[in-house]
């Protein structure tokens, strides 16, 4: 057996091209279904875990999936805004505690989450350093965001413009980092958290400026002052100018992307859900777990299709591998004949071929196993990149 394995090993090592192609083909053949299974399992677990801790979610009518993905994972399409009055409405109902979410902006690749300090408590987020945001314009970074941006407490980050020539919309805001969160392994790690009012500042609903000089005033009446373009808009809120920042209009009219509703008990949750059933109701309320379950059903269905295709490809690959082996045996007929003439039994020759096949299969299984482990190791990142 030792000699058979040795000869088989020498043959495989001496033909690296052929061996690599065979091993590569079989590795893919083995890895595809196993890797897919790991991804689907982990994505289902990941999605359910986050959704399970989020009882109710309120947002604009439309895609419940988009709303859930954005509110839970800060990924995907930004849902249409709803007025802050919906936050007030939940609080006023006495059935649940609302946590607003403003999810429109980014700092580079990192989502800016405009919310209240209650969000940290709700998600169980702990500070690794610094303090929570307290003043307008301050931000707290998730652990991964701090790493990726290379910024810690005392540093500053600047929001990204929504498009290249953002003339009329939001001005990038430079924000001091006052805290960094401990890593959680979830989507919060990649986020930049700000107070909801700071998000509104980025959106241009609040601004600060010097008292306009007389040459900057175009019109002044009891409703406000209209200034010309000479007026300088602030891009950073400091202790010197914080007082000058102010909101125009009714705060309840300002937008939020979604509201997390934390019912006081099951009955309160049910009652709250009932209030959003009316046909004229502009908002939808959803249970993230139910939305994620639907998504998982879809993912599992897609996995079935992919596995069916993989099975067909697998049969074709296996047939090719067998063909390559058979052709190889034909080419090596004289070698086998020589072994037999020297004194080798037919069984040993067959064992030699089997050992070569087993060697290729073992290498492919090892590689596929390694790839499955790597997939499991990076499943969360892959899931966010590929699925979420």
């Amino acid at each position: 057996m030792r000699h058979t394995l040795y000869l088989a090993g020498r043959y495989l090592a001496a033909h690296p091209g052929k061996t690599s192609i065979l091993v590569g083909s079989l590795t893919l053949l083995l890895f595809l279904p196993a890797g897919l299974q790991v991804l689907v399992d982990r994505s289902a677990t990941e999605m359910r875990a986050r959704a399970d801790t989020t009882p109710l979610l309120i947002g604009a009518r439309g895609s419940s999936l988009d709303l859930a993905l954005r509110a839970l994972y800060f990924q995907g399409e930004v849902p249409p805004p709803i007025p802050h009055a919906q936050v007030t409405r939940v609080r006023a109902s006495g059935l649940a505690d609302p946590i607003p979410l403003h999810l429109r902006f980014r700092v580079g690749a990192h989502p800016v989450v405009g919310t209240s300090i209650d969000y940290f408590r709700f998600r169980g987020l702990a500070l690794d350093g610094g303090r929570p945001f307290a003043l307008l314009g301050e931000c707290v970074l998730g652990a991964a965001a701090a790493d990726a941006l290379g910024v810690g407490v005392g540093g500053k980050v600047t929001t990204s413009p929504e498009n290249l020539f953002d003339f009329a919309g939001s001005y990038p805001l430079r924000m001091p980092v006052v805290g960094v969160l401990a890593p959680t392994g979830g989507p919060d790690d990649a986020a930049v958290f700000v107070d909801l009012r700071t998000a509104w500042v980025i959106a241009g609903f609040a601004h600060g400026h010097d008292d306009p000089r007389s040459d900057e005033v175009l019109e002044k009446d009891e409703e406000g002052v209209t200034a010309n373009a000479k007026l300088r808009l602030w891009q950073e809120i400091t202790s010197d100018n914080a007082e000058s920042f102010h909101f125009h209009g009714d705060l309840d009219d300002l937008p939020v992307s979604a509201v997390l509703a934390l019912p006081h008990d099951t009955k309160s949750g049910t009652l709250l859900m009932g209030r959003y059933l009316g046909r004229e109701e502009p908002c939808q309320i959803l249970q993230p777990r139910a939305v994620m379950d639907e998504l998982i059903v879809t993912v599992v269905r897609v996995r079935g299709y992919v596995l069916a295709v993989a099975l067909l490809l697998g049969v074709a690959t296996l047939a090719t591998v067998v063909l390559v082996f058979l052709l190889s045996l034909r080419l090596r007929r004289r070698e086998m004949e020589t072994m037999r003439k020297i004194g080798c039994s037919r069984g040993l020759v067959a064992g030699l071929v089997a050992a070569e096949a087993a060697g290729v299969l073992a290498a492919a299984a090892l590689l596929a196993g390694g790839l499955v482990l790597l997939t499991a190791r990076f499943a969360d990142s892959l899931i966010r990149a590929l699925i979420v």
């Binding site: 001496a14 020297i342 080798c344």
Partner: protein, 218 residues
């Protein structure tokens, strides 16, 4: 040492038939079997080696009645007592020099690959001038060097009988003579009998006995 009596052989598909009333060879003797291509020289060597089995008759090597053994026993006998040299050398190109020499030890458990075998393999390679190329791949050797490796492989079991099938057929004149020198030298040193199938009449003076294959059959 080698004794063939009333050996008859024919391939199942018909055509070629070999009939050998009697032929014997003394220990240490050197015999050349000559005849044109396709006349059955290789078949005769395969019968003597036990690779083929005659339909009737007896082949005896020393005290062993080869034709009375089953295939497994013939293989065991062949790997222990016979050395085979092939026309195309038939070395395994994925093995290095030493592994090719030691190949018979890896193919049959009756010829163990122990320290003595390894030492003998290295010694044989050194005797043919390849002691510094033990781990060189076969594809990087010249024709003459390959021929010498094939010879070393045939001698690894210290055989009592060396069967060489056209061992010089693919060699240039210089290497042809050198190869025969080596064969004879090793046969003499070990006391082994030597049977060489060839169609090269120029080599015949080097043998103790020259047997014309067509006369033998006649």
């Amino acid at each position: 040492m080698l004794d063939l009596r009333a050996v008859e052989f024919g391939y199942p598909e018909g055509g070629f038939k070999l009939s050998l009333p009697a032929w014997s060879l003394d220990a240490g003797a050197r015999a050349a079997v000559i005849g044109p291509s396709g006349c059955g020289k290789t078949t005769l060597l395969h019968l003597i080696a036990g690779i083929l089995r005659p339909s009737s008759g007896a082949i005896r090597i020393d005290d062993t009645e080869l034709t009375a053994l089953d295939e497994a026993a013939r293989r065991s006998f062949r790997v222990r007592r016979l050395g085979l040299v092939f026309q195309e050398f038939e070395l395994l190109d994925y093995l290095d020099v030493l592994d090719n020499v030691l190949l018979p030890c890896r193919l049959h458990p009756d010829l163990p690959l122990d320290a003595a075998a390894r030492e003998r393999g290295a010694s044989l390679a050194a005797q043919v001038g390849l002691g510094d190329k033990l781990h060189r791949p076969i594809r990087r050797l010249s024709q003459g060097e390959r021929q010498r490796i094939a010879l070393c492989r045939a001698l690894i079991a210290e055989p009592a009988l060396i069967l060489a099938d056209e061992p010089t057929g693919n060699l240039d004149p210089d290497n042809k003579l050198r190869a025969l020198d080596l064969l004879e030298q090793f046969a003499s040193a070990s006391g082994a009998a030597l049977v060489v199938a060839t169609h090269d009449h120029a080599l015949l003076p080097r043998f103790d006995a020259v047997i014309d294959f067509q006369e033998l059959l006649g």
